[in-house]
């Protein structure tokens, strides 16, 4: 019977394969082998989840460790689909990298709950919510860099704008997913899906700013306005993530966790 005791075997195969693909993507133009190894690692990991599910007689989604399993699983899946569609190698290597971090966390700390998590934070939404946001922040950060480059060397015919659009679409999709999962979670924990807490307000501002970008770019218009908005949106994003704690409006925020 498969249990957590066997995790290291499956995870070891997965980590080995994904490391090979990761290095392969970084070094080579053609990445056929990377795809093969991504698939083998993925199957090994999926197999463990399936067998664990059968053994537990419930979906393994209850504890932190279990949700981390799914995170790595889906991340690589999404990364691969995005690669297959757009040929973005960075997306595949990036998701492999983050997925591996979560596999390693599960090897080092497979425990049920991380210690001293206040009850409101103990939820199956915790991991997917946070990671969707972190991933989207990273992608939108990349979009900002590409956007700044275009503003600096402005050229009406620059092809980079297509790349920027795609980055924003993907990053915004993840941002929305993170926000929606946060809403569902907040409902279960506090009884409100959206309470306009300062952190939530700034998350709204951020999402709306990217929404502005997406809509003003519709049909390939307003390149320059959109690029400026990208910069503003990223400033809003940083305020949401780090800056809220310093604002006068955040004195009573429930999302500013005390230090201890």
């Amino acid at each position: 019977m498969i249990s957590w005791d066997h995790f290291n075997w499956f995870a070891g195969v997965t980590l080995g394969c994904w490391t090979v693909s990761f290095v392969n993507i970084l070094l080579n133009k053609k990445i056929l082998w990377a795809q093969v190894f991504t698939a083998i690692g993925f199957i090994s990991y999926g197999l463990f989840i399936a067998l664990l599910w059968i053994n537990l007689e419930r979906p393994p989604m209850r504890t932190m460790g279990e949700t981390r399993l799914w995170y790595s699983f889906f991340l690589v899946l999404v990364g691969y689909i995005t690669y297959a569609k757009w040929q973005y190698k960075w997306m595949l290597s990036y998701s492999l990298f983050v997925a591996m971090i979560f596999v390693i966390v599960n090897i080092l700390k497979p425990e049920i709950h991380s210690k001293n998590l206040m009850p409101a934070l103990q939820s199956i939404w915790f991991v997917p919510h946070v990671t969707a946001y972190i991933l989207s922040y990273a992608i939108l950060g990349a979009a900002t860099i590409v956007g700044l480059k275009q503003l600096y060397q402005y050229d009406e015919n620059d092809k980079l704008i297509d790349f920027t659009d795609n980055l924003v679409y993907i990053g915004f999709g993840l941002l929305m997913l993170g926000m929606l999962m946060g809403a569902v979670w907040a409902k279960a924990a506090w009884g409100h899906y959206w309470s306009w807490d300062p952190k939530e307000t700034w998350a709204f501002v951020t999402a709306a700013a990217y929404l502005f970008y997406i809509h003003i770019r519709w049909n390939n218009h307003y390149r320059k306005t959109a690029l400026w908005m990208l910069v503003i949106a990223f400033i809003c994003l940083m305020i949401t993530w780090k800056g809220v704690n310093y604002l006068p409006s955040a004195k009573n925020s429930v999302h500013v966790y005390g230090q201890q």
Binding site: F172, A208, H221
Partner: protein, 423 residues
């Protein structure tokens, strides 16, 4: 045709950004006039069925407009300039809201300019409500516009926009029908409780009664820390060190002291001689026997520390004339209530309620809310939040559509746009 449009006189159709911005500023000003004359918008005034009448007729109006062929007004209403300008208006208002502290209850001070303008209650201010309303109208128009020639390849557009429309409608207009109360229930009371407190602390009676069979609480093991005896602050002051007690015994180091935990009891009661023994009973409290050694001098001190609770004394260990070793109060790991709920309809449910695991009964949802913080584990009551929200299922439906739409954003990208440009 990016920025090189032929100049046309203002207000001549088709309207573009200049006209649109003027119109949205106009909407905002109308809202401001209402705000200054009528005062803050009251959601309760929009309670069922008024919300569905107003919201519904707005949408029907747009539907009728969309049936007219080649209405340039409808083209504008459903177009990008209007939606982008509305989104910009929302951004500006929410930025103001994100900077200004928001008020929850009634105004207790003399109104400031910000209060009068509605900035301190942004989501109930007239300009915000009007912009929200027009966003719903624009969204409806955009959806209907696409639906004239439905295409499968527009699936992502439909999921995102219909999902968002349902969500915005149900969460905004639905807010008027939402009710939220807190109920305090004593353990093993003779009668089930049905009295609740509203947000204004009025006492009301509900068609739902709850009895509490058991309040369950688990705590994390407490932490050890060294505090300055005068300041009461943990050291090092810049980055206080806390050590989580656990079953495993390890040596800890804090700023020139080594601490050895000789024994640790989660449920301890004090003996007459200042030592502790393990007893599981209400009022027991974590305690630890520790030996502290000052590294510089080699001096050793040992003794019991206890964090104290309502029944037992707090016990620090003096380790020098400047510092003491103390134990922090344990933090809650999980709290839950074994309850029985009886609805007026006669429906009965027994369950264990805990944070993140609410109970849904019809349009009511019951949440674990709090307990007697001073008594902690020994709390003899538990409090629940009861939320009535008939729009909740619609909200979730909207969320699910939006989530599917967001997933689609991973691959639709700008491919469509290029196709369109070739049209």
């Amino acid at each position: 045709m990016t920025n090189k449009q032929i100049k046309k006189p203002i207000w001549q159709k088709p309207w573009h950004f200049t006209e649109t911005i003027l119109i949205v500023v106009g909407i905002y000003l109308v809202g401001m006039v209402l705000q200054l004359s009528v005062g803050t918008f009251k959601f309760s005034n929009l309670a069922w069925p008024l919300n569905i009448i107003i919201g519904g007729s707005g949408i029907v109006l747009i539907l009728l407009l969309s049936l007219r062929k080649q209405s340039s007004f409808f083209q504008w209403l459903s177009g990008v300039p209007f939606s982008v300008t509305l989104i910009a208006a929302l951004i500006i208002q929410t930025i103001i809201m994100g900077i200004t502290p928001q008020l929850a209850g009634a105004l207790t001070h003399k109104p400031t300019v910000f209060d009068t303008l509605g900035f301190t209650r942004m989501t109930s201010s007239w300009p915000f409500i009007l912009i929200y309303f027009f966003t719903i109208l624009a969204l409806t128009a955009a959806i209907l516009n696409r639906l004239r020639i439905p295409k499968w390849r527009d699936y992502a557009f439909y999921l995102n926009h219909i999902g968002l429309l349902i969500f915005l409608f149900a969460s905004g207009f639905g807010a008027s029908d939402m009710k939220r109360y807190v109920m305090y229930v004593e353990e093993n009371a003779e009668m089930p409780e049905w009295r609740v407190y509203s947000e204004n602390k009025d006492v009301l009676e509900l068609p739902i009664a709850i009895s509490l069979k058991d309040f369950i609480m688990e705590e994390y093991a407490p932490k050890l820390t060294i505090i300055g005896r005068e300041s009461g602050k943990s050291i090092p002051e810049k980055d206080p060190a806390y050590f989580q007690l656990a079953d495993k015994k390890t040596d800890i180091e804090i700023e020139g002291w080594t601490i050895k935990v000789d024994s640790f009891i989660m449920d301890a009661v004090r003996n007459s001689d200042k030592s502790y023994r393990e007893i599981h009973m209400p009022g027991s409290c974590p305690a630890a026997l520790v030996t502290v050694q000052e590294k510089a001098t080699g001096k050793k001190i040992s003794g019991w520390v206890c964090c104290g609770n309502y029944a037992q004394l707090y016990m620090p260990l003096m380790i020098s004339d400047k510092y003491s070793l103390v134990m922090t109060r344990p933090e809650a790991k999980r709290f839950a209530s074994d309850i029985e709920v009886v609805a007026a309809s006669g429906e009965k449910v027994s369950t264990t309620l805990e944070v993140n695991k609410p109970l849904k009964m019809g349009n009511w949802t019951i949440y674990q809310y709090g307990y007697d913080n001073d008594a902690g584990k020994a709390s003899n009551y538990s409090s629940f939040e009861l939320v009535y929200d008939p729009w909740l299922n619609a909200v979730y439906f909207g969320i699910i559509l939006c989530a599917l739409g967001s997933l689609c954003l991973f691959w639709i990208g700008n491919k469509k746009r290029k196709e369109r440009n070739n049209d």
